[in-house]
Structure formats: C-alpha cells, structure tokens
C-alpha cells in the first residue's frame, strides 16, 4: 500500500514539472520558422560561422595576401593567389592583394585560427551557417562570396558587417561601383 502511494507521489511530482514547463515561455529558438531575416536563429557574438573578408574605411580590401591564414589553417583548406596592386587597379591598401581567395568548407573546421593569424583583421568569422548542399563542390567558397560589400556610406560610421546580419554570402559589389 505505502508503495502505491509513493509511486503516485513520484508520478505527480514528475507531471507537475511537465505541466509547469508547458506554461513557461519558449527557450528553444524557433528556427527556421521564426521572424526576421534570420528566421528565428540567434547567435552569440563569438559564434564562428562562414568567414567574412573585410574592407577598410576606404572600401579597399583589408587582405594583403600574406598567406598567414593559409599557413595557420590546420585543415589546409585556404587557397590564395596573390597579385600586385597597380595605380589603375588598387584592390587592397598594401602592395599585394588576394586575386583568388577560396575556402573549402568541406574541410573547414571553424577553428578560427585563420582569424587569429590575420595581421590586418581582414578575415573574420561571420554568422553565416546554412551551408548544407547536395553538391560538395559548391562548398568551395570564392572570395566574391565572402567579401563584405562596399558600404554605401564610406566613412567612420559605415556598417561593415552587413554580411553578418544577412547571414552569409552577400552580393559582390565591384570596387568603384
């Protein structure tokens, strides 16, 4: 007899927690059915998503093609081809720029070593995360897919990390446009 009472008490206790939780506000993010461009996804600032290649306050690419990120990358998935800036075609503020900058997201482990290695803060982790695809070759991202757009308003107040807000690949805007 006392055993039955004990069991009932235990069930009641358990169910009371269940019923209590039913009336609590939702803590799980309502992704992908939430509101806004992120469809309910929320990120910690430090979240390491798809990389963003940043621009400086003049709209020039920050990357100077130093190859340090590629050297730091433990999965060897960063591919860079350097080219020289000229008077007519100035892409970065230094002597060289990355003519080709690919990251193979089949391999990238989002460790952030490249970001740490970058002396110019050119490469950062954005919050882009919807990378799934049926075709692995489309996971090789080109520079154009990772490059921050030229801010409409160039200057101290420009919003640089638009890509983060949009959650991934912004459209490429050619310099000078």
């Amino acid at each position: 007899m006392p055993t039955i009472l004990k069991d009932i008490a235990a069930i009641a206790k358990g169910m009371s927690i269940t019923f209590m939780e039913m009336f609590q506000p939702t803590v799980v993010e309502n992704y992908p059915d939430g509101p806004g461009p992120l469809r309910g996804a929320k990120f910690q600032e430090r979240y390491r998503g798809v990389h963003v290649l940043q621009r400086d306050e003049n709209g020039l690419e920050k990357c100077v093609a130093c190859f340090l990120c590629a050297a730091a990358c433990p999965s060897n998935c960063i591919y860079i081809e350097a080219a020289e800036n000229t008077e007519e075609n100035r892409v970065s503020g230094a002597e060289r720029y990355a003519k080709v900058y690919n990251i193979d997201y089949n391999r990238c482990i989002f460790c952030g070593y490249c970001v740490e290695a970058c002396p110019t803060d050119a490469i950062t982790h954005g919050h882009g995360f919807e990378l799934a695809t049926f075709n692995a070759s489309s996971l090789v991202y080109r520079k154009e897919q990772m490059l921050a757009p030229i801010p409409a308003h160039i200057g101290a107040n420009a919003v640089f990390n638009q890509a983060e807000v949009l959650g991934g690949a912004p459209a490429q805007v050619a310099p000078g446009e």
Binding site: V64, A70, A71, E81, N102, I103, A136, L139
Partner: protein
C-alpha cells in the same frame, strides 16, 4: 684542433676559426647578423655575444663577440649565461626600434634571418613608441627589389657587393642612424652577382623582384634539388613551384661549386619555364597549320614517321640531359646520332675531354683557393659567370699568406683587408677583349686567339724548355738549332703584332711563368669561349709544364652549355655530317632533341637539312624557328619538370630533379621511348623509370658508369619513407585542387626519384644530392645551410653531390706540339670573334623578361683606330658577311679590341647560327 668549453662541456673545434664558427659547427644556436660564412667577421652587429671566462674559477667573465674571438685552446664560454642572453635580446630590441612592424607584407617573411634571430633571442614585445626612421627605396633593375626601411645596418650587402664581388656602383651613404645602402642614384645594379643580395641580406631590404610578380611564401613552395642549365658550370639550385608555376630559383649550397652564391643569369633566367611560348601539347603541322593533337595520336604518328623512314637521323642537344640524349642515340643508332653543334665545337669538346682526362681539374672551390692564375682566352664573367666570382677570391690567397705571417686570422675580414691593402695575388688575363675581371688582374694581354695561344705556349716553354715540342721533333739539325727555331716559332721574338697592347711578349711570358712557378696552387683557366683549339692546348701545356716542375697545378675549362661534355661523351657526331646524311639519303626522318638548329648552324645549312628530311620531329620546350618547321612537335620537359643527369665543365655528373608536374609535358626520353615503341621497337618499353635508362646507359658506356652514383636511386628510402619536396608548413593542400575534385586527389607518383610530391615523408636531413630546400628548426632562412654542413662553409654532410667522372692522372700528360703561327691582320678584312654577354648569350635565359631587358642590342664592334681608318663612326650601320649570310648592325667602338679583330655579340637573335671566328669585310650600308 682545440678544446673549448661551452657552458662547461668540452668540444673539439678547429683552432683556426672563431668561436661563432665553432659554435655553429657544433650545432649550437647562436644568433648573428654581420658574420657570413663566406664573408668572415667584422664585429659590426654585436649580436653574437657570449660570456668568456678566464678559468673555471672565474665566475664573473666578460662579454665577447663570438665572431671576433678565436676558438683558442681551453677557451671557456657560455652561450646560456643570463647576462649574454639579456645582451643579445637587447641588441635585437635596438635593431627593431626602426624596423617596420609588417612582416606579413614583407617578401622576406617566413624565410627571414631577422625573424629567426628575433625569435631565437626571445625579444617579443616592442617598447619603443617613437617615430621610425624612413628611407626612399630605389629602382635597382629588373632583378633586385629594394625596401630600405627594413635595414638593420649589418653591412653584409656592401661587403658582399664591393669587397667580395667587386661591384662599384653600390655603397653605403650617410652617417649614424641614417646609413643608406644603395646606389648613388636609381638604376640597374651593374654586378652580375647582385642577385645574391637577396640571400646575403638578412632582412627584406633586397628581395627577388621577379618573384614579386608571382609571389609565394617559402613554406608554400614545392622544391626539388636541381642544377642550373644556363652555362656549363652546373651550379646547384633549388627551384620552387606553386600552383603549377615555377616561382623562383634560390641557391642550393654545394661546397665544391657554387658555395653560397649564384650568378644572376642562373638565378633569374628561370622565367622561360613559364613562358607564353611554351609548347604544352603535342602539335602537328598539316597544310601549314599547326594544331594540337592528343598525345596518343601524336605518338602513333611519330611511330609511323620512324617506321616508314629509310634512315632516322637524331640530333642530340647539349642542353638536354644525358638520359634523353642517350635514349635518342639508342633509338637512332650510333651512326646516325649527331649533335646540334658544328665540327669545330665538337672537336673542341673532344679536346677538352682529352685534357680533362689527363690533367688535374680544378673545381670552383679550387679556383677560389688558387694562389696564381693564368686565364687564357676566356671572358669568364660572361661565359662562366660564377667562376669569375671564385677568381676574385683567388687573388686574396697571396695576401692571406702575408697576413698569416702577421698572425691575423683569415676570418678577421677587415683586419685582413686592411693589412693587405691593394695587394693582390697574381691573376693574368689574356683575352681578346676587356673583361670585368681586369680590375683585379695583375696584368692583361689582349690579342687574337692565336696570339693568346702563343702566349700560353711561350709560358709553358719558359717553365719547361721541353714544352716547345723538341722531344717530338724528328727534323734534322742540331739540338741548339732546334731550340732556337722552337723559341722563335713560339715567341715570334720581339714585339707582338702591331696594334696589340704594348706589352713585351717575352717578358710577359716570363713574368707569368715566374708567378705560376712561385705559387703553391697554380691554376690555368681556359675554355671554348674563343673557340680555339690552340688556346686549349696552350693552357694544357702550361699546366703540364708546371706539373713537371713539381707543382700541384690544375686546369679549369669553361664549356658552352650545361651538358656539352655529356653530349660529347656520348659520341655525337657534328651537324655537318648529319647534313651530309640527309642529303645522301631520301626518305629520312629527322628527330631534333631540344635543339634550335638555327642557333647552332648557319641558316642556309639548316634550311637544306630541314628540307631534305622527309619527316621532321622536334622535341622542345618553347616554340622556335626549328619547331616551326617540324611536322610533329612534342612538349619536352625543362629542367624544372624532369629528372636527369648533366655533366659539368669539370666532368662532374650531377642529377637534377623535378619540381613541377605538368600534365602533358614529359621528359624527352619518355617521348622517344613512346615513339619508338609505337614504331615497333618493343625493347624500349623496358624503360619504365629514369633508373632503367641510367642502367642501360651505364652498361652501354662504361666510361659513364659512375653516373649511376650521382644521386641515390629512386628506391632509396629514409627509414622506409620518401623525402618530402614540400616544407611541413605547406598550406592549402586540400583546397588547391578543389576546382577539379573536392576529395583531395592523391599526389602524383614519382617513379623516378626518392622524393615525394608532398609534405609527408621523412623529416630528417636527406643525402646531399637530395636536399630540396634548406630548412632546419628555428632556421627558416638560407642560413639554415649551416645545419647541413659537416663544417660551416665546408662540404655538405656525407660529401658534396655529384661524382667526378675523371680521376686525376698520376703523372703529367704529353705536351701538345703545334703552336699556331703569329696572327696576321688582313687589309680590309677583320677576324670576327664571338663576344659574350652574361645576359643575352644563352639561349634559354634570354627568354626571361628581365634577362631580355638587360641583353645587348645587336652590334658589330671594332677598335677606334680601325674605324677611323675605314672612315666609320660609332652607330653607323655596318654589314659583315660570314658563311654566305650577311649580318647588319650598328657599329660599336671598342678601344679594347686588338687590331684586325672585330666582335659580335653571339646569342642575340641577329647573330644566331653564325660560325666564328671567321674573316669578313665590314662595310657601311646606308
């Protein structure tokens, strides 16, 4: 030997050396800047400080500069002493005050001695917060880039450029904290060794300007041990590849040849490999149209050309590997194997071989160590450039003997130079025209090739009266009469031909003989430069005469191309004979191996040859006039894309290995194998790897047996593993081919060598012949070579690479007899001789943009008196006619040319195929 104590432990070291040298040889990591293994010590940077103690009881000690302190018996030093450590760290901090903070945009980054030393001393935080000193950079030409802000004032560059390499147009300007290293104004650096500044400078002040255009970090390149193909010396190089492109060449240390330095032709001539004109696919010419064809089809077509031919003619090449030439010889048969070289050149090469087999031969290291030198006929700086740098050191040998007496150690560089002042050891330059070595020459003599030969014969006779040829004369007459006749015949008694510099021939010969005879290690240098057999023979006679006088004399002969001797050893016959065969037989097929015949023989002959052959097959790297006429062209691999063996001017067989792995391009021997197998010669299918070819080569040519030992065979493994071609930091491996396949493809196999196309493999030091690049823990720059040597600046561990094919003979060879007659200038005609240019005379390097930029425009040069006599002025358009062709160029006045002699720059397009020396009229054209 001396015993020194480093941090309490005893070590055996060379007592003749300084403590820095000793510590580095022992493998200690002691930082340094101003000291360089080839340049010695000046104590300028204070970086190599160590603590020295008077006795084991001395606990206090004092700081000394290791590079300035002899490694004397019983010396007690401490590298780890806290005061020494702090001092070294402080020195770096001082240097860093003005040094930029931007390694990531510096071309030196990743292979920077300053970075290495900064890490080694532990200086890792900048406290200096004030403005930095800045400079303007200079344009120094197409090869060397200048970024003066990175300078740490170690003075290595000026010491190398001015003192070691004899350059004049570079110096240090300014005072105190504002020392500027550069030229007095912007302009191309004149020295052909300027490129070594890239490696000599411990920072990024001087870097490779050609590399800048396709920049890649050292850690990202795939390297291979290789051999320079731009002259006959066979300097060792380390080419670096990335993304299928050859990015740059750096020096690969070889203790007997190039040491720490290359010439700029060798360092910067590589860009032809990346040229737009490269043949990258088999091509067929039908109806005047050149079209690419698939590999298999081309091979079958080639097979048909061979199978249907009555005779197959093979033209070998002195710039192709021994293996490719051998494959051609086996395929076409010894009787139909020719060289793309004239009878004259082949005769000279055979004479060279004969001399090398019977005379002690000097390596470049020996050249450097010689204390009296006679140069006969060779414009060394332009023909065998790296040898000129060695010659510049040879004149220091006698002053060394003097400073040794003053007890100044040889490594104490500026004390030695101060004591020696302008005193230089004997170096006699007998050449047709002025050379860039004349400034260090004891005496110069200018004359026609025959006159130079006569000077040589006269020297030999002065050394040994028998050398004039008395023993072999069978003519009648008394001995005394013979002597008089011989002396007359040789010296011409009296003055040299009119117009030659006013040097008294006989006393000059005597002076040279005396200097050579008084030396401990005399040397004679000659070569094919003035294309004269008598000159070569005269050089050999001088060495033989010295040998008979009991001197350890040696000879060094320069040859035109990287494998000239290899081709001659394979018994190739001259081109003229190939022409005769082609004319005689109908229905022939000619195979041209890595040869632009138009550069080797007169155009009219080549036309006849190419026309009379029924089918033409060419194998080459780049499109040229010869490949343009070929019906079938195969893309032949360059030095950077293939493995093989080259025989250098001293008869040293050296193996080079592949750095690039192009798709359609393969070694000439592989193409030849495929074509001949397709033609039904099944036996060639046995050649699967390079070692198979070498095996057949060795069994066919017992002379060349040692070629197999030039480098370890492909089966060689280090602890079961291959040797990585890529540094362990190699990046981007998995992303590099993602455009082709996201699953990382397997790296290409290499059946031909024990090197792998990967960063994986045995990380230990490979045998000397297989070192792809210099890297050691904590030593990312070229200074890492310290870690590969038995002793600093000595041989590489396990011996320097390559094998000498000729053993020094036990006794002196026989004298050559036929001294030439005196040179007689002709009325209204000139003897046209070849003049060489380090940039411009070599076939492949001239296809690199920088070399092209520095190469001369075509000209015809003669003496000013002559020109006046003929009513000609500088820049007049003049014409000369040789071998049925006429050549038109602007007249250049060269006061240094002897009377009766005119010169043209060989190798530049206009003079392609010209056969020199030859007589010609020179006339003005409107």
């Amino acid at each position: 030997m001396a015993t020194i104590y480093v941090d309490g432990k005893p070590h055996q070291v060379d007592a003749q050396q300084n403590l820095l040298h000793a510590c580095l040889t022992l493998g200690f990591n002691l930082p340094y800047f101003c000291w360089h293994p080839a340049l010695g010590s000046v104590g300028a940077c204070r970086q190599c400080a160590v603590k020295q103690f008077r006795s084991p009881e001395d606990k206090h000690g004092r700081l000394v500069m290791a590079c300035m302190t002899p490694a004397s018996e019983g010396a007690q030093i401490s590298i780890a002493d806290p005061e020494a450590v702090a001092f070294r760290k402080g020195i770096i901090e001082g240097m860093m005050e003005n040094h930029p903070h931007d390694c990531p945009v510096c071309d030196e980054g990743g292979e920077c001695h300053l970075q290495d030393m900064t890490v080694m001393t532990g200086h890792d935080y900048r406290r200096y917060e004030f403005p930095k000193r800045t400079f303007r950079n200079q344009y120094l030409g197409p090869f060397v880039n200048h970024e003066m802000n990175r300078c740490i004032q170690c003075y290595r560059c000026v010491r190398f450029y001015r003192e070691y390499a004899g350059g004049q147009d570079f110096n240090v300007f300014g005072i105190r904290n504002l020392a500027y290293f550069g030229r007095h104004e912007d302009g191309v650096l004149e020295s052909e060794f300027a490129g070594n500044l890239d490696e000599v400078c411990p920072t990024g002040v001087f870097t490779d300007a050609t590399h800048k255009h396709h920049y890649t970090r050292k850690w990202d390149m795939q390297f291979a041990p290789s051999i320079c193909v731009h002259c006959g010396l066979g300097c060792n190089i380390s080419p670096g590849e990335r993304y299928g492109m050859l990015r740059r060449i750096v020096n690969r240390y070889h203790g007997d040849i190039n040491g720490y330095f290359l010439c700029d032709r060798g360092r910067y001539g590589y860009e032809f490999v990346n040229s737009e004109q490269r043949i990258r696919q088999p091509q067929i010419r039908s109806n005047g149209q050149i079209q690419p064809v698939p590999k298999q089809q081309a091979i079958e077509e080639g097979g048909r050309f061979i199978a249907s031919a009555t005779t197959v003619i093979g033209i070998g090449s002195s710039r192709a590997s021994l293996e490719s030439n051998f494959a051609l010889r086996m395929a076409v048969g010894a009787n139909h194997f020719f060289a793309g070289a004239s009878t004259q050149e082949l005769q000279l090469l055979h004479l060279t071989l004969e001399i090398l087999r019977t005379t002690p031969v000097a390596s470049l290291r020996d050249v450097e160590d010689s204390d009296a030198v006679l140069v006969l006929g060779e414009d060394v700086s332009n023909y065998a450039p790296r040898m000129a740098l060695s010659l510049r050191q040879s004149v220091r040998q006698q002053p060394f003997a003097m400073t040794d007496k003053l007890k100044i150690p040889r490594w104490l560089d500026h004390a030695v130079r101060e004591a020696a002042q302008e005193h230089k050891g004997p170096l006699f330059m007998a050449t047709v025209a002025a050379t860039r070595l004349d400034d260090v020459a004891t005496d110069t003599y200018r004359g026609a090739p025959d006159e130079i030969a006569r000077l040589g014969y006269a020297v030999a006779r002065t050394l040994d009266p028998e050398a004039a040829g008395l023993r072999a004369t069978t003519a009648s007459g008394s001995l005394a009469g013979q002597i008089v006749r011989a002396v007359r015949a040789v010296t011409g008694l009296g003055k040299p031909p009119s117009g030659a510099p006013d040097a008294d021939f006989e006393t000059m010969a005597q002076r040279i003989a005396q200097a050579l005879n008084g030396a401990e290690r005399p040397l004679v240098i000659s070569g094919l430069g003035c294309r004269s057999g008598p000159v070569l023979k005269a050089a050999a006679n001088v060495v033989r005469a010295l040998q008979r006088n009991g001197k350890p004399a040696r000879i060094a002969l320069a040859v035109p191309e990287c494998n000239s001797l290899g081709l001659a050893m394979l018994g190739a016959k001259p081109f003229e004979e190939a022409l005769a065969v082609a004319r005689e037989h109908s229905g022939t097929t000619a195979i041209m191996l890595e040869n632009d015949l138009y550069r080797q023989a007169p155009g009219s002959d080549v036309d006849v040859f190419l026309r009379s052959a029924n089918h033409l097959i060419a194998l080459d790297h780049l499109q040229n006039r010869t490949t343009a006429t070929a019906e079938l062209t195969f893309p032949a691999a360059t030095f950077a894309e293939s493995d093989g063996t080259l025989v250098n001017n001293e008869g040293r067989a050296q193996r080079f290995f592949q750095a690039l792995t192009p798709q359609e391009i393969q070694e000439s021997w592989r193409w030849l194998r495929d074509i001949f197998v397709a033609a039904g010669r099944r036996e060639f299918s046995a050649w699967k790897t390079l070692d198979d070819v070498i095996q057949s080569l060795v069994s066919e040519f017992p002379d060349l047996a040692q070629v197999a030992e030039a480098a370890p065979a492909a089966s060689f493994r280090m602890a079961g593993e291959k040797i990585p071609r890529q540094p362990h930091r190699y990046s981007g491996r998995t992303a590099m081919l993602a455009n082709i396949n996201v699953s990382e493809p397997k790296p290409p196999d290499d059946p031909d060598s024990s090197l792998s196309y990967s960063m994986e493999g045995n990380p230990d030091q490979p045998p000397a012949a297989l070192i792809p690049f210099a890297w050691a823990g904590g030593w990312n720059s070229y200074q890492a070579w310290n870690k590969f040597q038995e002793e600093i600046a000595g041989p590489l561990r396990g011996g320097n690479p390559g094998v000498r094919l000729f053993q020094p003979p036990a006794q002196a060879g026989e004298y050559f007899q036929d001294a030439p007659k005196r040179f007689q200038p002709r009325e209204g005609e000139w003897l046209v001789v070849p003049l060489y240019h380090v940039f411009g005379s070599e076939e492949l390097s001239i296809l690199s943009p920088g070399v092209k930029q520095l190469s001369p425009k075509p000209y015809i040069a003669m003496n000013d008196e002559h020109a006046k006599g003929a009513g000609l002025q500088a820049e007049d358009m003049v014409e000369l006619a040789i071998g049925g062709a006429s050549y038109r160029a602007a007249l250049q006045i060269r006061p240094d040319l002897p009377v009766g002699i005119a010169g043209v720059p060989v190798g530049v397009d206009l003079f392609a195929g010209i056969q020199l020396p030859a007589w010609s009229k020179i006339e003005r054209v409107s």
